[in-house]
Structures are given as C-alpha cells and as structure tokens.
C-alpha cells in the first residue's frame, strides 16, 4: 500500500502545485454539477438481500459476503462468450477533484480538507485521467490513481453506483447514462474504492468521514467525522451496522475498524489492530511508544460469515514501514487475517501472514470464504494470496492453517521452514539493511489490494501476480521495473497451481492491479496491462474472448448483473464504466 501511495503522492504534489498556480481567485460556491439529477427507483436493500444476494444484483464491493467476486449468472458462458459485445460506455459529466485528498497519507488528510469548501473543483485536485491510446502498454499503473475509477460498483435494480475520487455516480446499468452525480468535499484516500448500500442509503468514505447518501437522489443525509485519517476503502454493511476502516498509510496513530449504526451513524464499537498495553498481543511489541506508531490499517472491505457472525479481513503493515529495528517482536495484529464478531468487535481468531514486517507486505487482499474438501473432509476456509508472495488457506472457524505455499520459488524474505502455526518465519538477513538487501517480492508486492476471486464451480482461487525484487534499505526501498506478470489459478486445498497464464509484456509490474471476476458460466474476466478485457475459461485458462477497452485496462472491480433477463458484465476502466452483453 505504502509504496504505491508514496510515489503517487509525490506526483500528486507536483500536479497540485501546478494546479494551484493556475487557480482562479475564488472557487465555485457550489459543486459544478451541470446535469439535473434524476430520481432513481431502487428497492431498499434488506439484511436478507445482503446475505442471499440475488444473481441480478451486485450489492457489495465483493459481490457477496463470501468475498468471492463470483457471479452465479450463466447466460454468458464458455460458448456464448464468443458473441459478447460492448453494450455501452458510461456517459457522465466529468469527475471533479476534491480540495483535499482524505487520509491517504497520515494525518495530513484531515488538515488538508479543513477548509471544507464544497466542490473545490479546479483547485488543488487530483489530475484528470490521461486518456490512454487503445492498446497502448506501459501506461503506468492501473490502480485507479489520478482520476481513474478504482471502485467496485454496486448494482441494484438496474442502477449502477460507483465512485471516482470524491464523486459518486448513479448510472442506468442498461445504457450507461448518468442518473445522479454527487460531489463530496473530499475523498477518502487517493483512490476511492466504492460504496456500500443498506436499506435506501448509500455509504461513502468522503468529507473526512463516513457520508450517507439517499440512494434515490444522491443527496447527502449525514456526515460523521471519524476522528482519524479516512482511507478510500469501501464501507461494508451487515444488518444495521456499517463498518469503516480508519487509518493512515504512514504511521501517526493506531488505525482501526469501527462499527456504526447504519441509520443514525452512531459509533457502536472500535477494534484496533495494534493492541494497547495490557491487551492480548501487546507482548509482541517492545513498548507502548513503539506500538503507538500505528498502522495495521484494514484497507480492504471485509468478508462476512453469517453462520458464525464473523467479519473476516486483512490488516496492513506496521510502522516504521521498512525499518523494524525499534519494534522487535511479531507486531501483532499487523499483517494478519482476523475474524471479529460483527456485533461486538471481539476477535475470534487471527492468523499472521507476515510477522514483524519490514517490507510493506500489508495483508489487505480480498478474503475468499469457501467450503472445500481437504484430505477428504469438508472444511470451511478463507483463502487468499498475500502481498508477501505466499498463498494461504486457513480454517475460518478456528484460524488454523491448512495451506501456506510460496507462489514463486525465489520468494526469499522468509525461511523455508514455517512456524508450527503455518506462518512463514522471517529470514532475518533479508530485513532492510544499510547497504541494502535484495528481496522478493519487492516493494510493490506479489499482489496488491485488487480483487481476487474464488469460483465454487471450479473450486479454484484466482489472482494476478507479479514476480519481482526490490533492494530494501532502512531508509526505504527502490522500485525496480521490468517484471512479467501472470494470472494464477490455485487449488486452495493444496496450494498447487492448477493453471497459469503468463503475459509476455515485459513491463508487467503494474498489471497486478487488475481485479478478477469469475462466473457460473465457467468464465473468468480480468484485464491485461495492454488495455484488454479478457475472458478466460476458468477451468483451463484458455482465452475465449477479449475486447480492447476504450481508455485503459481495468482500474476497478468487474461486476455482473442482469436487466430484463439479459446478463451484463461491467468493468470500470479509467474514467468510464464499460458494459457488455450478448446481442
């Protein structure tokens, strides 16, 4: 997380200064929205809808509580996909940049937005996305920075909701036309990753807090300040709770996840990934002062297990990020996958992916809840590929490890020998050093936050991965380019690679930013760095179809839904949402 934010932050600063230099004297008084907002008709989303989502809708960032990014729709399948056609490209008024940029970097976010000017467009905002020539490669990261859609869209009753920085849009999911457009005074983080819906309310990380919008009109209902840096991760709803992560990307204070009442916005509980003195896990830190440097931010929306009433999610890295010398110990519960009781916030179990991290390996991937057979026995598991270059499967009722496997043989930050718990054991020679230690995965990680997918149909877990290196110094690391990427299908029961598709493009380092969608039609949708949306046979890895996207490759989460019985696949790409259906 950090590395990406830091470099982009530097670029952002330059552009901000440039923008300031050309700023007119007074900012516009109201958000410069030019098209009239229309009222949209969507049925309120009930707790039951969220637990058993209809195939026609896509109601959460992950599509369902399982975190699987799997659609049960079958109309577009391995045969019919050959006829898949572009149905529409979204038609919206341009996105506006915020006066500030939320909590992307430490406490700076809150201060930067203190003015709270409405619709500070044209001031020191994020730059508009540079149009990318079709099919061009080497266009930089597809991570949704600098004005690209990083969101996972929400679809309800034929209306598609998404964010782009401080903008929230509702568009007609059948033709891509704008229905309403809301401009917040600031966006959470550098890349707003989308919305949550509960009842008739849309939740957004914006305005230095949690913002509730009327789903029908996009009008603001309330804003609750969160008292800390606001990241861009999508909020998450279970029954009448809405969960939000609060925290920075460079240590200033402990990060946390909190539960709020979805109607009133009142806080219900807070859970800190880094324990305080006297609490369980504090003995993995030397002192309160060191633990208090913070981080462990849960950047990615959780998965939810209704049977156990558990929120399951990953936590980020500790601080200082690349220099662990002052914080000997495992630094729990940073870089863990944890399970919290959804009503009380009490931790049920944890599993640490990277103990004592000093490589920025935050474990904030999308967690897939699956039921699989392991050695003949049915197991309820959570499975994911971590940024640290390991694939994990753990029992989600106990946190007990089932699989830990290196995704590349040259992953070298850890020893070959695992701990009894299944956690990799650090190779202490591979921490940051003054002269530099050459480590794989590098500072960009083997994966980042974009969506991974599990298909209950194939029983395989899918993600885009990059095999790379960085030299790590106490004072930071270096981003080396030129590494190839591949799409991986992994058996979560064994960690064995079922198939992989290796991309030839030599500068694939940024290609892991493409999220993955699988469907019951036997398909896998994802993007390559060359700007193509590709449909693979999820079972074999064979390419069945592709389309060159109008601006860039995938920047947000691909989703699937139906309107009037027709299945659509919609993908955020740079400043547009592009949708496909059969003729």
């Amino acid at each position: 997380m950090t590395s990406k934010h830091l470099s982009v932050a530097a670029l952002w600063c330059v552009l901000s200064i440039a923008a300031l230099a050309q700023t007119p004297a007074a900012p516009p008084a109201t958000p410069p929205v030019t098209r009239p907002n229309q009222r949209v008709a969507v049925r309120p989303v009930t707790a039951d809808d969220l637990t058993k989502p209809a195939a026609a809708d896509w109601l959460t960032y992950h599509g369902s509580y399982t975190g699987n990014h799997f659609s049960t729709l079958t109309q577009i399948d391995t045969r019919s996909v050959a006829n898949l056609r572009r149905a529409w490209v979204s038609d919206t008024e341009p996105a506006f940049a915020a006066a500030g940029r939320g909590g992307g970097r430490g406490g700076a976010g809150a201060g930067a937005n203190a003015a709270g000017r409405p619709g500070g467009a044209g001031r020191a905002g994020a730059p508009p996305a540079a149009p990318v020539p079709p099919g061009r490669t080497g266009v930089g990261r597809a991570g949704g920075f600098g004005g690209a859609i990083a969101a996972g869209p929400i679809v309800r009753d034929g209306v598609l909701f998404y964010t782009l920085g401080p903008n929230a849009y509702a568009i007609d999911a059948g033709n891509g036309r704008q229905l309403w457009h809301y401009v917040a005074r600031s966006s959470g983080g550098l890349s707003n990753r989308g919305l949550a819906i509960g009842g008739d309310t849309i939740f957004m990380m914006a305005n230095d807090g949690l913002t509730a919008l009327d789903a029908a009109t996009g009008t603001e209902r309330w804003v609750k300040e969160l008292g800390g840096p606001v990241p861009g991760s999508a909020p998450f709803v279970v029954r009448d709770h809405v969960y939000v992560a609060v925290g920075s990307d460079a240590g200033t204070a402990r990060s946390w996840i909190e539960s709020r009442n979805a109607r009133t916005g009142d806080r219900e509980w807070i859970w800190y990934p880094i324990p305080k003195e006297g609490e369980f896990g504090f003995n993995t830190w030397p002192t309160e002062e060191e633990a208090g440097r913070g981080q462990g931010t849960p950047w990615q929306a959780p998965a939810y297990d209704p049977e156990q009433n558990l929120l399951i999610f990953g936590t980020g890295n500790p601080d200082p990020i690349k220099d662990g010398r002052t914080r000997p110990g495992d630094n729990l519960f940073t870089n863990c996958t944890v399970a919290l009781d959804a009503d009380t916030g009490k931790m049920a179990w944890y599993f640490q992916a990277t103990p004592h991290d000093d490589h920025d390996y935050d474990n904030v991937q999308s967690m897939s809840l699956a039921t699989i057979r392991v050695n003949g026995a049915e197991r309820k598991v959570v499975t994911w590929t971590s940024r640290n270059g390991y694939f994990f499967t753990i029992d989600r009722t106990t946190g007990e490890n089932i699989v830990t496997s290196k995704i590349f043989p040259n992953v070298n930050w850890a020893q070959d020998r695992l701990r009894a718990s299944g956690t990799p054991e650090r190779n202490e020679n591979k921490g940051g050093t003054r002269g530099g230690s050459l480590v794989s995965p590098g500072s960009e990680g083997a994966v980042n936050y974009p969506a991974q997918s599990f298909s209950p149909q194939t029983g395989l877990h899918y993600t885009n991965v990059v095999n790379n290196y960085s030299p790590f110094y106490w004072s930071g690391e270096t981003f080396l380019g030129t590494f190839k990427n591949s799409l991986r299908a992994t058996d979560p029961a064994t960690g064995k690679v079922a198939w992989q598709h290796e991309y030839l493009e030599p500068n694939g380092i940024n290609a892991r930013y493409a999220s993955v969608l699988t469907t019951a039609g036997g398909l896998l949708f994802t993007g390559d760095i060359s700007g193509n949306l590709i449909a693979f046979d999820a079972r074999t890895g064979k390419i069945l179809w592709h389309d060159e996207l109008p601006e860039a490759s995938l920047t947000g989460v691909p989703v699937s839904y139906t309107i009037g019985g027709a299945q659509y696949v919609a993908v955020p790409s740079a400043t547009k949402v592009v949708a496909y259906r059969l003729p």
């Binding site: 020893q415 002269g435 030129t482």
Partner: protein, 317 residues
Amino acid sequence: MHKRLGVAVFIGSWAIATVFAAAQGGPQGAGESLPSGITALAPSPPAGAPPDPAAVARGTVLYETTLACAPCHGLTGRGGPANAPDLTRSALAVQLDGGRALTAFLRIGRPEKGMPPVTTPLTDQQAADLSAKLRALGFAAVPAPVAGRGAGGRGGGPPLPAALAGQQLSILVGDPKLGKRYFEEPFYQCSSCHSVKDGETRPAANLAHIATKYADPKALQNAMLINRGLNWSPRTNKDVTATITYANGRTVKGYLTSVSDFKVVIQNDDGKETELPRKDDEPKVVLTDRLQYHLDLLARYLDSDMHDLTAYLATLK
C-alpha cells in the same frame, strides 16, 4: 532520554536472550529463531586463533570449486538468495575440531533443503582445509570498526536504538577489493560484458567513470541491479528484441514496442512501427532482453556480494 535508554536495554536483552536460547539448543519461542538451517549460532568472531592462510587457500579451492559451496552459500559464506544458511554464523561450520563434525554433516547433507551429500569422502587434510576456510569466513564476517562507518558495518550489525538511526549514512558498506574480484571472476562475469578501461569497447556500457555518472551510491547500486524504473517500457528504448515466428516458418524481427495475447508491435531502426495481430499464441513471440543477464542475476546476488560490487563500482570515478 529515559525512554530511549529503556528501548536500548530492551533490545539488548532481547538479542542476548536470542543468542542464549540458541546456545542452549532449546525450543525457540515465537519471533526468536535461528537463521534457516542453523541449529546453533557461532560466537563472533569464532573461538580460537585465526586459521593458517595456506590451509585457507587450499580450502578456498574446495569451497568455491571442488565442492561448489559458494553458489549457494556465497563467496563470503553469508548465505544466499535461496535462503542457504549464513555459514559465518553456524557453530557447526566454524567448529574448532579440524573439520570432523563438518565431514560427518557433509556425508549426509540436507537433501530436504536441496543440499546434496558429499559422496566422495573428504580426506583428513581436505576436511581440515575446508574447516580452515569456513573459520576464515567467520573471522572475515566480523565487522571491523571503520571510521565514518558507524555501527552498521558489513551487512548490518546490532539494532540501533532510534528508528531512523543510520539512514543518513552512506549505503557503501562493502569491500571494494572483493567487489573487484567478483567483477572479474566467473561467478558474476561482469567483466565479460563491461570494461572499466577508458575508451575500451565491450558489448555493454563502459564503466570507467560510472561512479561519476551515479554519484549517489544508492543510485549506483540500483543502476547496477537493473537500470529500469517502474515505468520503464520496451517502447522507450531498444533493449528488447522480438522474434516473431509464424506456423509456416516465416520470421519477423524487430525492437519490441508492446506485446499482448492479441497483437505484437515492433519497430525498426528508424522507429517505424509494425503491428501484427496474434491469436491462440500464434505467431509465436520470443523476446530477447539486452539486460536479461541482469534480471537473472537478481536471483543469484548475495547481499554481501552486491555490497562489495557496489563498493568497487564506487571507486570508478
């Protein structure tokens, strides 16, 4: 001040506890473990007197060539990218017994870790020579107090109390003499492509003044590893050549601009681009990267060797 002191004392006792636990050979608690493959830590420097240089010289041949220890454990014995143990910290490796325990260990090896057994038994003389070599590596690994280098020394040193301590110090921690050797010797083969003599032409860049071009040692080290940033793309230079072969045997060659599963774009010497469609992995595209050797080296560098090479390059002003 009190807080600072507290941290230092804590870290100190933690380190001592780790070494103590190791010396006892007892079970290790979470977060306190020995480096991979080492069952007991060696004292630093090793016990006893430094070994006889003549025995070390003979042992060097065994270590680097006959038994091929160096490819995994490194020329300095400090471990490697595939997590081969740091022999300078292995009590077994530096034991003062003329190599008896070592011989017994080598007869079995660690096949489960990829270390094959030494099948031809070592003579007593060979065992003693190899032992002398490993002990010499142990002595060499002790950080020498060098003016202006701080407490870091080679490959790190003890933890420093302040979070940011050492960050202002130069990253030059290596030995330029060793670096010169690695540059010239077959293990890294730098000199087979690069010359360090003014005006001499070799296939790759002349490095005679490389430390002037990269005055910052960190930039120098990074350029040595792979001289490409995150946003490098083959379209930006002529580093990558594409050989495109059709099923009928027709072959097209050019500098790569971009390649996907659906098309490959190449350019000729004048920068004129040609776009060729692809489908179902046809035509085949084979890429030749001018810096492939540097990419392959990333998996082979030992950190200490990387430091030594950088230290050597830093002398080429």
